[in-house]
Symmetry: C2
Subunit: 134 residues, 2 copies
DNA sequence: CTGCTCACTCTCCATCGGTAAGTAGCCACT
DNA sequence: AGTGGCTACTTACCGATGGAGAGTGAGCAG
């Protein structure tokens, strides 16, 4: 079992509500737009190549996909496997640690799909009221 | 039950993997750094004033807190109540819709707290390997 | 020797986030 | 009369971040 002490010293517990706490950064990372989608995609369909991933996440730029994958790899959530061929062949898939994130992210994604209608309605109502005030 | 049809027309289902889909935007919003923390705080401790909230979310600027609260209010997740007093008195709390997000966000927050040690370790290992390559 | 594939990598520009100072309205104190 | 303070914002400025698109490298087919 990994504890805080193993890595950075005597901090007993992490708290994202504290300024500069690594758990806040991490929360930000894993909740970021492209990371959620990359992890979700790799979780659903397993290993995937760069170009295929880029197609599945319609709208992502190459730069952002590369950057997101690097960050996830560094964080130990995604594994990058290079097959030394020409043309280049690289595959990405989830590590065991990455797998543990599937549940939380699936729940969040489902929430946004299920409630987007209500949110859109709330926005309309808000905007109408704001117009009246302006 | 709110469905897509109620608001924007004949789209049968929302998919965050589609470019420009409102559910992708929404997912981005609710996963964003300050929104997660604001919703978490209001979920845990109930109604709260601006300044108090600012203290609890150590490190947030006034600008970002205002902006985050406005967005959440517009999305129907947070309710803003103004008491016409001097000095000004404004309270924020979760709407019923906002309450439904507590679970998903708590799970995500817990994940980051529980696994930050492993992630930190993975980063160290990655950085050491990268140094060797450089 | 030209073109093609794949996975980047670089450059340029627009938008975003953070810092810090300003605003409004009323009250208490001097 | 004037000064300062309370609370919740706004605004201006600036560096960091994200997106669009072109360029790179390595090797093989034609």
């Amino acid at each position: 079992m990994a504890t805080a002490e193993n890595v950075t010293g005597p901090m007993a517990s992490w708290d994202p509500y504290t300024r500069g706490c690594p758990s806040r950064d991490l929360l930000d990372q894993i909740g970021s737009k492209w990371a959620v989608l990359v992890l979700g995609e790799l979780g659903k369909h397993g290993a995937c190549r760069f170009t295929r991933l880029r197609q599945r996440l319609a709208g992502v730029s190459e730069k952002m996909l590369t950057q997101t994958l690097r960050t996830l790899e560094r964080d130990g959530l995604v594994r990058r496997t290079v097959y030394p061929e020409v043309p280049p062949h690289v595959e990405y898939d989830l590590t065991p640690l990455g797998q543990t994130l599937r549940g939380p992210l699936r729940v969040l994604t489902q929430w946004s799909v299920e409630h987007v209608g209500e949110v859109l309605a709330a926005r309309q109502e808000y905007d109408v009221r704001a117009e009246g005030t302006a």
